[in-house]
């Protein structure tokens, strides 16, 4: 049984990671995107290479007026950003960073818990879109709903394959059972999981719900100031969570070439690489159309995930 100080210490660590990692991802996106597009990213805030850009952004957001459109459903409108952001914080608690009990809280049905809680984040965008009293927001919200419903399934199926392979739903349990040859074994599931997660985050190329050229900014059209910043933070926290989950489920988390006590370094490294891939994909690919997004989900990802489950089952039986 953990004592109170231990619990507090763990919560504090998770909160710190929650506040810090998305900022690092955001900064990395500024610079990586800029270099990939052959231009200069935000350079001036702070001294060296504009390291304080995100701090400056935060100050700017905090200064802006907080507007609720007339005719909007006030309470729902105001609650939406919090609902979009909080699930990622809760998910972070359950992600094992290092060997043993280097985790906020060990949850027995970890995979189930994590995916269920992540599904709640969708609600934030939907609420924002519905409550804004704005047709662009409504369209964006409905697109979000359609997209997230479509991609929830392949994501769950891919995660289920790993849980099947390990014979447990607990995230640390999965990592304990993990072997290096799971990497090629589960690669299809990993790709499906990562792609579906990308779509859940509404990141490019799956950003039709926030398509700024068609529906302005989708469900977030009417948001200003801090509430808008919270939605942005939710996006970057989502990148962190998705990368960490993919690293834990498919890349072996704290397993590394040197199986030492420094397992958490491996987890963070894999997470960082995946977060970079998220940014990289954003720069490289054009936005998919709404119907293309649906087609990818139902005709590519779902069959692939089912194939992975079948493969996992066969190999599992053969091993035994």
């Amino acid at each position: 049984m953990m004592d109170v100080a231990d619990v507090l210490w763990r919560l504090l660590a998770v909160l710190l990671a929650f506040l810090l990692l998305p900022l690092i991802v955001g900064q990395a996106e500024h610079k990586a995107m800029a270099h990939m597009q052959g231009r200069v990213g935000p350079m001036y805030a702070g001294g060296f290479h504009g390291w304080a850009q995100l701090v400056a952004d935060g100050v700017k957001f905090a200064q802006k007026e907080d507007i609720v459109p007339s005719g909007a459903d006030r309470r729902v409108f105001q609650l939406a950003p919090a609902i979009a952001l909080l699930p990622y914080l809760i998910v972070l608690i359950a992600i094992p960073v290092g060997k043993g009990d280097a985790v906020g809280q060990v949850v027995d049905a970890g995979v189930f818990f994590v995916l269920a809680v992540m599904g709640v984040g969708v609600l934030g965008s939907l609420m924002g879109g519905w409550a804004s009293n704005n047709k662009f927001s409504l369209l964006g919200g409905l697109r979000t709903a359609a997209q997230l419903l479509a991609y929830e399934l392949p994501m769950l199926l891919a995660a289920a394959s790993v849980a099947m392979a390990a014979g447990t739903l607990s995230l640390p349990g999965i990592l304990d059972a993990w072997q290096w040859w799971w990497l090629p074994w589960q690669i299809i599931g990993g790709l499906v999981f990562f792609t579906a997660g990308l779509a859940e985050l509404q990141r490019p190329p799956f950003d039709a719900p926030v398509a700024d050229s068609e529906i302005i900014f989708g469900a977030y059209t009417e948001y200003t100031g801090l509430r808008f910043a919270l939605f942005l933070l939710a996006e970057y926290a989502g990148i962190v969570v998705l990368s960490a989950l993919t690293a834990v489920l498919f890349l072996g988390g704290w397993h590394g070439p040197s199986d030492s006590e420094l397992g958490w370094v491996w987890t963070l490294l894999k997470t960082a690489v995946l977060a970079f891939v998220v940014i990289w994909l954003r720069v490289s690919y054009p936005r998919l159309r709404e119907d293309q997004i649906q087609r990818v989900a139902w005709t590519v990802l779902v069959p692939l995930a089912l194939l992975q489950i079948a493969l996992t089952g066969v190999v599992k039986v053969v091993i035994q």
């Binding site: 800029a34 200069v40 720069v283």
Partner: protein
């Protein structure tokens, strides 16, 4: 047949390759641009050359040049001669809010009173401040760069060519008259030596007409 998905990989490769290269962006306020000497930044006025002929103001398509002047009469140069009148510039202003930087005023100026300066950082918060009066136009004059040297293979400018020809002719005449003086004795004064006012200008005109 290309491998399915190879296009996606190619896209990723392109962005990754670009990332490893240095960007060529010019950091403008930190490092000033290297402007060519004939950049059209702002117009400088060399007031001493201006005769208030108004050609620039009349040719300006935007009508952004304002000139005020008055006439002054000067006493006759020789006793009993006619009084001279000359134009004195009171105001010369260019409204750069209207100017479209066509450079026609500079081209038409017959007395080389207007010049392009490469300075371009004169934004104002009030549009009225974009009307530059003569003091300011004079200040821009100091920023006008030296004209670039001629191409080494270029033919000589007409002015220089005309001057050289005139000088050669003059020297030849002088030599001729000296020879004549030597042969004729000292009594005869040298004829038409260096006092022919039509000499140089006539040759210059001939040269120009011959070119056309």
């Amino acid at each position: 047949m290309p491998v399915p998905g190879s296009g996606l990989a190619k896209g990723l490769a392109v962005t990754l390759r670009t990332m490893t290269r240095r960007s060529v962006t010019a950091h403008y306020p930190d490092s000033l641009p290297q402007l060519p000497p004939r950049s059209r930044g702002v117009i400088g006025l060399f007031e001493e050359n201006c005769t208030v002929c108004m050609l620039c103001a009349r040719e300006c398509p935007d009508w952004c040049i304002y000139i005020d002047s008055h006439k002054e009469t000067m006493p006759a140069a020789t006793p009993g001669g006619r009084e001279r009148s000359r134009n004195v510039l009171d105001r010369f202003a260019i409204d750069f809010a209207l100017c479209m930087y066509c450079g026609i005023c500079i081209d038409v100026c017959p007395f080389d009173a207007l010049f392009w300066s490469p300075e371009f950082e004169y934004a104002e918060t009030d549009i009225r401040d974009l009307t530059h009066e003569r003091d300011k136009l004079r200040e821009w004059m100091w920023t006008v760069p030296e004209p670039p040297p001629l191409d080494p293979a270029a033919e000589e400018p007409k002015e220089l060519g005309a001057a050289h020809k005139a000088a050669d002719k003059l020297a030849a005449q002088q030599a001729e008259s000296e020879q004549q003086a030597e042969s004729d004795g000292e009594s005869e004064p040298p004829r038409e030596t260096g006092t022919d006012p039509s000499g140089p200008s006539a040759t210059a005109r001939d040269e120009q007409e011959g070119d056309r």
